[in-house]
């Protein structure tokens, strides 16, 4: 894929991350100030709060979208940094291949975890 296209997706993914990760950070780390999406009170990582969020399809979907956007944004950024070190074209191909495969594997695993926890939470 052309670098210009990848760069456009990188910028777009960054905006998606800013919104969804902003919400995630507000829920997880500004809880004492904002108190949103933690219905059981206590800490946001308490099991009751984790289940309450996982039960909502909104959170399951946004976790998967965030996972994909953040993996692409982060790994493309890493690729750009590595390429700027002036490596040869053979190594560039290897780096791209490793990052694509690694990214896809992490996405598959993370998406499974998000959906499995959503399914599990809905049974409780």
């Amino acid at each position: 894929m052309r670098d210009r296209t990848l760069w456009t997706w990188h910028v777009f993914a960054g905006l998606v991350i800013l919104v969804i990760l902003g919400l995630h950070m507000a829920v997880m780390h500004l809880d004492a100030i904002l108190g949103i999406f933690n219905p059981a009170g206590g800490h946001p990582v308490d099991w009751a709060n984790v289940v309450a969020r996982a039960q909502q399809t909104f959170f399951a979907v946004t976790y998967v979208v965030l996972l994909g956007a953040a993996l692409f944004h982060g790994l493309y950024g890493l690729r750009t940094i590595i390429f700027e070190l002036g490596i040869g074209s053979g190594l560039k191909t290897t780096v791209s291949g490793v990052l694509v495969l690694g990214g896809l594997a992490m996405f598959a695993f993370g998406a499974w975890a998000a959906w499995a926890s959503h399914t599990l939470a809905r049974t409780q």
């Binding site: 960054g14 905006l15 800013l18 984790v50 790994l75």
Partner: protein, 145 residues
Amino acid sequence: MLDTNGHPNRLGLWGWLGGGRWGLERYLYTLHRLTGLGLLAYFLLHIIVTSARAYGEEAWLASMARVTGPLFVVGEYLVFVAFAFHGLNGLRLVLVELGWAIGKPIEPVYPYRTSVDVQRPLALGVMVLAGLVIIAGGADFFLLH
């Protein structure tokens, strides 16, 4: 002129660290890269650690027990700080990239005005905003819990 070792515009690591005559925005660029790498490293571990919730309460509690303690609280706060900086500075970069924050082209009449006259206030404003988010996060992390 800096020695580029036969690779014009490719200064390697020095290209990251040296602000040169570019000033504030150049250091924001360096910080943007460093925080980006830090966030990526954390994110990859975060995917693995939080996947424990898919196996039920016991696995989740065991996973959380491995990442508790003052060191992890400080580490998580640093991640929060990196996010606040990287996210808001990234928004500035998008605005500049799309040409919405560089001002309109004008005739070069002395005293010259450049796009920095528009970009610099934006950079400072974004850093103030990031600072406020970082302070709010600090209060939540260390004072309100």
